[in-house]
């Protein structure tokens, strides 16, 4: 129901106007894997044709600026004030303020829908770098803005964007010894947050299905029965228990194709990993040790599962075949390793690491090599990948003091660890789960 349809790609007639004679100070491309780079300076002009055009431009500016790869030039410093959305801008006027790219757009009415055209102009070369048109219901204007930001990000970085996504998280409130923990879902930039659970019992560890239609999470019951994993339809709110086991079930996560959920189930103090078929509810045991085996996560191709276990004495990361078996340890550094999550691209596994008195978020190759820390603090936990596998979200908790719970906040960091920022939420927030790109 909320799906803007991608329609025509506007003709990208290369324009020779004002070919760059001056040596470029900045380029409209960026290689984010290089050890150092300067953010790309970009000018985003308020979209013409409708009041919402300024709001759309603002969302695009924030998305790009927040990625750390772009620097949004403040509109107050623009020299050319009257940019025609359908004609080339005056390139020298944009070069003068240091822009490498200029984004212009036009909003028009289209039979109850809005149509948004935009063009990205390469100021350095002096031609059109991208141009697309989208149509959707007016209420979807923020999604249109995110889709435009994704298109710009892809054109400049060569990587898929991640702005047209959502983040599920745990909204926390109340005193430290009786926290209310509710599952909520918001847009990636913090907008449109809404609660998914009512807060009568603790609900934690939400994870999206690949279609974003469903989430799995763990919740406590109102009596003293063990907490269990639930499957909930995001739109209808209908929820069901995912298997009724005598013991606690927890740490759920969907397979990449959405047909299965892996999770831990406890029995007599022992926690093992199981796989459940979502439709048929057939249950299959994947590990069987007296140890704590938990936080399972499928590889991007669904062939393997990474998890943490204390079977060797301390909490470490292990990889096994998706059907169980072939278990091998992959973490060998100092400290305890937890919450492994396989990148959607398959090239990295992110984790939480506990060393001495501090926590860190890091990545390693699936064979355990190339370990690198991206963030650290008193308590950082629970990395989750943006769908392009180049950005992670996690949460930070500050120490409690004088009986008051420390604040808990969501953060994102790029895979180099260079650029971290807080993701705004209305109140305390933990356990982020980044969605795939929203289907268009």
């Amino acid at each position: 129901m909320m799906l803007p349809r991608r329609s025509t790609i506007l003709g990208g007639a290369a324009l020779a106007a004002g070919a760059a004679a001056v040596p470029a100070r900045a380029q409209l491309t960026i290689d984010m894997t290089r050890p150092t780079f300067e953010p790309v300076p970009i000018a985003i002009v308020d979209f013409a044709g409708d009041r919402v055009g300024a709001d759309i431009a603002n969302v695009v500016r924030n998305d790009l600026q927040n990625s750390g790869l772009f620097r949004s030039i403040p509109p107050g410093s623009f020299i050319q004030k009257d940019v025609n959305a359908n004609a080339p801008p005056q390139f020298p006027a944009w070069r003068q303020i240091g822009a490498a790219g200029v984004v212009v757009g036009q909003v028009s009415q289209a039979g109850g829908n809005i149509k948004v055209d935009f063009r990205l102009w390469d100021v350095v070369v002096g031609n059109q770098a991208a141009g697309l048109s989208f149509t959707s219901q007016p209420a979807n204007w923020r999604r249109l803005a995110h889709i435009i930001a994704d298109a710009i990000y892809k054109r400049v970085t060569g990587e898929e964007g991640y702005f047209d996504t959502r983040i599920a998280y745990v909204a926390e409130s109340g005193p430290g010894n009786a926290r209310v923990k509710r599952i909520a879902i918001m847009d990636q930039d913090g907008a449109n947050s809404r609660f998914i659970t009512d807060g009568r019992t603790i609900a934690i560890t939400p994870r999206f299905s690949p279609t974003l239609q469903e989430i799995v999470y763990m919740a406590y019951a109102e009596d003293r029965s063990p907490p269990r994993v639930y499957l909930q339809n995001v739109d209808s709110g209908r929820r069901e228990l995912l298997g009724n086991f005598p013991g606690m079930s927890f740490a759920p996560r969907f397979s990449p194709d959405g047909t299965k959920v892996v999770m831990s189930i406890s029995e007599n103090g022992q926690s093992d990993i199981y796989e459940m078929d979502v439709r048929g509810r057939a249950l299959r045991r994947l590990t069987n040790t007296p140890a704590i085996d938990t936080s399972p996560c499928f590889s991007n191709d669904g062939s393997q599962i990474v998890f943490n276990s204390d079977r060797g004495g301390s909490q470490q990361l292990y990889v096994m075949s998706a059907g169980g078996g072939g278990e091998r340890r992959i973490s060998f550094g100092d400290g305890r390793y937890a919450t492994p999550v396989w990148s959607p691209r398959g090239d990295w596994i992110a984790f939480t690491k506990i060393t001495g008195g501090s926590f860190g978020i890091g990545v390693m190759r699936p064979d355990g090599g190339g370990e690198r820390m991206l963030a650290s603090g008193f308590l950082v936990e629970g990395p989750t990948w943006a769908p392009n596998g180049r950005v992670l979200a996690f949460f930070r908790q500050q120490p409690s003091s004088a009986g008051r719970a420390g604040s808990v906040t969501l953060h994102q960091v790029d895979i180099t660890g260079r650029f971290e920022r807080q993701i705004p939420t209305a109140g305390d927030a933990s356990d982020p789960a980044w969605s795939p790109l929203i289907p268009q």
Binding site: R224, M248, Q315, F378, G403, D431
Partner: protein, 153 residues
């Protein structure tokens, strides 16, 4: 005058009641005037919780004493079902701590079962690090949070 006398008499009775409480309750370092067999009696005179070392779930010597007292009390007052709630300090990850809390609750349960409490009387639940008591981020608070609490129903 009469009122004062009456109060004095009541105070005497309280003292006598306190003296008559058994050795064990005194050993628990607890006080006076709760109804024997009540939840308050269990909490004050037996002790409702045992504590664990970091990342461990074995019952320590101080915990054994508490659980032995719990078992004797539960054998005397057989009308209670119990739930043992396992908890962790905040220095672990959420999911692992759920499992560790379950392991701690189960360790306390197994100790009570070994002391002769029927397993059917005992339920376990883990709160991981979700319900700290006390709330705090220092060693003293963490030591109190690594706990298994026996709750009466």
């Amino acid at each position: 005058m009469r009122t004062i006398k009456a109060l004095a008499a009541m105070a005497m009775m309280l003292v006598i009641a306190a003296c008559s409480s058994n050795q064990q309750e005194q050993a628990a370092g607890a006080s006076t005037t709760v109804t024997p067999g009540s939840v308050a009696d269990f909490r004050q005179n037996v002790g409702d919780r045992v504590f664990f070392d970091t990342d461990m779930s074995n019952i320590r010597e101080d915990g054994r004493q508490t659980l032995t007292r719990q078992a004797e009390w539960l054998k005397k007052y057989t009308n209670y079902q119990i739930t043992i709630a396992g908890h962790c300090d905040e220095r672990g990850t959420r999911e692992y701590n759920l499992a560790l809390g379950e392991r701690r609750a189960n360790a306390a349960k197994q100790y009570l079962v070994a002391q002769g409490i029927p397993a059917q009387r005992i339920q376990t639940i883990s709160y991981g690090k979700e319900r700290p008591d006390p709330v705090g981020s220092d060693e003293a608070a963490w030591a109190r949070n690594r706990r298994a609490v026996t709750e009466l129903q």
